[in-house]
């Protein structure tokens, strides 16, 4: 379970999050929608521990542990996974090497045995098949020369292998065609279980046709200004974000 309590955060002198309160119980998928500049990406970076974002107030608990003091790699080992809006290219780093290094780092911290090359390949090939990806994905450099859709699929592949307890999808739908969107949705839906929660951050409603959230929150001006059922997304699609600040 993720609990965010009165979270304030800033970049430099600029306060972006101004008291976010949010609880995502295990087994649920929550969507965060909101206009540009509302603080959506900042929230995802603060949760995953990126440098440069200063938390000035508030707490974030994941499964009862205050995660704000943890390094990004320790948050990942604890089960938090951030799917990037713009997955980063790593020239010179092979995808298979990257995936295996990540998986084994996480397994080590979780007290599980590391996987040798053969066991890893078996696991990776199965995950690739599930995501309708080509096997040469493993041989290419991480995200280098990937199309937008391929990059997002690669995020889903990482998520499938790392088996997080909480996935944060930061505008994962941006720049995706409908097929890629479905792949992303299937990736998340495949992980749905009583011990998995997700925070789906999106500007548009269309991803939520495929990942149906249990709850929709509206983030605007650095605060959650509305919370409602899945239908709230449709309402926002029709009427836009205008006037929400006052609501």
């Amino acid at each position: 379970m993720l609990e965010i309590k009165n979270l304030h955060a800033r970049i430099g002198e600029k306060e972006i999050l101004k008291g976010v309160n949010l609880t995502v119980p295990d087994g649920e998928i929550h969507a965060i929608m909101g206009p540009n500049g509302a603080g959506k990406s900042t929230l995802s970076y603060v949760l995953s521990g990126r440098d440069g974002y200063e938390v000035t107030q508030g707490e974030v608990f994941y499964n009862g542990q205050n995660i704000l003091e943890l390094e990004p790699e320790d948050r990942a080992a604890a089960g938090i996974f951030l799917a990037f809006q713009y997955p980063v290219e790593l020239p010179g780093v092979g995808n298979a090497n990257f995936l295996r290094t990540a998986l084994n780092a996480v397994r080590r911290k979780r007290g599980e045995a590391e996987l040798d090359a053969v066991a890893f390949l078996k696991l990776a090939r199965a995950a690739i098949k599930n995501l309708s990806m080509k096997e040469d994905f493993l041989k290419r450099n991480v995200n280098v020369g990937f199309s937008g859709g391929e990059k997002k699929r690669n995020e889903m592949l990482q998520m499938a292998l790392l088996q997080p307890g909480l996935a944060i999808l930061d505008e994962t739908d941006s720049g995706l065609d409908i097929d890629a969107l479905k792949i992303v949705a299937e990736g998340v839906n495949a992980l749905r279980s009583p011990t998995f929660a997700a925070l789906v951050i999106t500007h548009y409603q269309r991803l939520l046709d495929h990942i149906v959230p249990d709850v929709v929150h509206v983030l605007s001006g650095g605060r959650i200004v509305r919370t409602g059922p899945a239908a709230l997304a449709l309402e926002l699609e029709e009427r836009g974000y205008a006037g929400l600040e006052a609501a």
């Binding site: 995953s48 521990g49 990126r50 440098d51 390094e71 990004p72 790699e73 948050r75 990942a76 080992a77 996974f81 951030l82 990037f84 997955p87 980063v88 790593l90 020239p91 010179g92 780093v93 090497n97 990257f98 290094t101 990540a102 998986l103 780092a105 996480v106 911290k109 990482q158 790392l162």
Partner: protein, 373 residues
């Protein structure tokens, strides 16, 4: 001549010479050199291949393999005007002459130079490598040691038409030592000289390569990785002279610098008037891991032909924060993430090293360098 000082004997090049503008040999000129001590058996790398071993500047026959294409040192005149090569010619007492006959593939050999100094001494090895038509050879060339000493080897290379020499160097000298290596390669039509140097050791080092392409389709593929820390100074200077048409050449240098380290790359492509259709490429990239590290890059193109393709590029940067965060967000600890990115940064320079033993050896040296940081 125990107790001799260089400055009393010869004029070492100074910064006033353009070719030595970024590398100052002053710390070397004030050293007082003693006789090299008696050789002790070095720890040799576990490589299953014929080897030629030099200890404290002397050929160690008992530790070396007998090779039918190897002959003992023969003093030779120096035909260049390079100051350190001239000095070597005057002082060299040992080295090896390799002569691979036409059409013979001589496989891979290890050339190992070990120095163990109790007092500073100098070793001027002089090697000559000649490959006949279509002959092949791979040399894994390692220099290691302890204490204060100066390795000043010269390697003269002559490749007949169609010959292929792969020369992989690991300069892993003592951190108090000096290493100045001069390599001159004469490359005939269709012959290939492939060179890689990993500069890891020595307080001050310079690798200077002069590759001359004498016939059509002669090729020089030069790359280097300099990994320097503390107050180390590493210089990679390469000059490729295109003296025939239709020749490709590459110079690829990657430098990773931390602490107060200083890296230098001077790369020159000379294209003769007759060397039309030259394809010359030069790239230098440096990664500064500390705000006090320094990289000096001097690319030079001298082109006298009018139908050539020559490109050069140079970048100096730091590790990318985005990439680092991406790796850490996937659970990879910061140290491991940095190591992964540094190895990736070196990839372009290491990529041409295909001989498995050499690749493994160099990868291990790079990993060791990183874990010591």
């Amino acid at each position: 001549m125990p107790g001799w000082k260089l400055r009393n004997m010869v004029a070492l090049p100074t910064n006033k010479l353009e070719a030595w503008r970024y590398t100052d040999l002053a710390p070397l000129s004030t050293l007082s050199f003693a006789q090299a001590p008696q050789a002790t058996a070095p720890a040799l790398p576990a490589l299953d291949m014929p080897r030629l071993v030099f200890v404290n500047g002397v050929f160690a026959g008992g530790l070396s393999s007998s090779l039918d294409f190897a002959a003992p040192f023969a003093a030779g005149a120096e035909d260049s005007a390079l100051p350190l090569a001239l000095l070597n010619a005057g002082l060299a007492r040992d080295g090896v002459v390799l002569n691979v006959p036409d059409g013979v593939d001589a496989g891979t050999i290890l050339l190992f130079a070990q120095a163990t100094a109790t007092e500073p001494f100098a070793a001027h090895l002089r090697h000559r490598v000649t490959l006949g038509q279509g002959a092949r050879l791979t040399i894994i060339d390692i220099a290691k040691g302890d204490g204060v000493y100066w390795h000043n080897p010269v390697t003269d290379i002559a490749l007949a038409p169609g010959a292929q020499l792969a020369h992989y160097r690991l300069q892993d000298e003592s951190r108090e030592a000096f290493n100045t290596a001069t390599i001159k390669a004469e490359i005939a039509a269709g012959a290939v000289y492939e060179h890689f140097t990993a500069t890891i050791g020595a307080r001050l080092s310079r690798t200077e390569i002069h590759a001359t392409l004498r016939g059509e389709q002669a090729s020089a593929q030069l790359s280097a990785a300099q990994l320097l820390t503390g107050e180390q100074h590493g210089d990679f200077t390469s000059v490729v002279a295109h003296k025939a048409p239709n020749c490709p050449s590459r110079q690829t240098v990657k430098s990773v610098l931390s602490g107060l380290a200083r890296g230098v790359f001077q790369g020159r492509i000379e294209v003769d008037r007759i060397a039309q259709k030259t394809d010359g490429y030069q790239m230098s990239r440096a990664l500064l891991l500390s705000p006090h590290a320094e990289m000096d890059i001097k690319p030079e193109l001298q082109i006298y032909a009018d139908d050539v393709k020559c490109s050069h590029g140079a970048t100096i940067g730091t590790l990318d924060e985005n990439q680092l965060f991406y790796l850490r967000s996937r659970g990879i600890p910061e140290d491991e993430a940095r190591a992964l990115l540094i190895r990736a940064f070196l990839d372009e320079a290491l990529e041409p090293v295909r001989q498995e033993d050499a690749k493994e050896l160099l990868e291990a040296a790079i990993e060791t360098w990183w874990t010591r940081q």
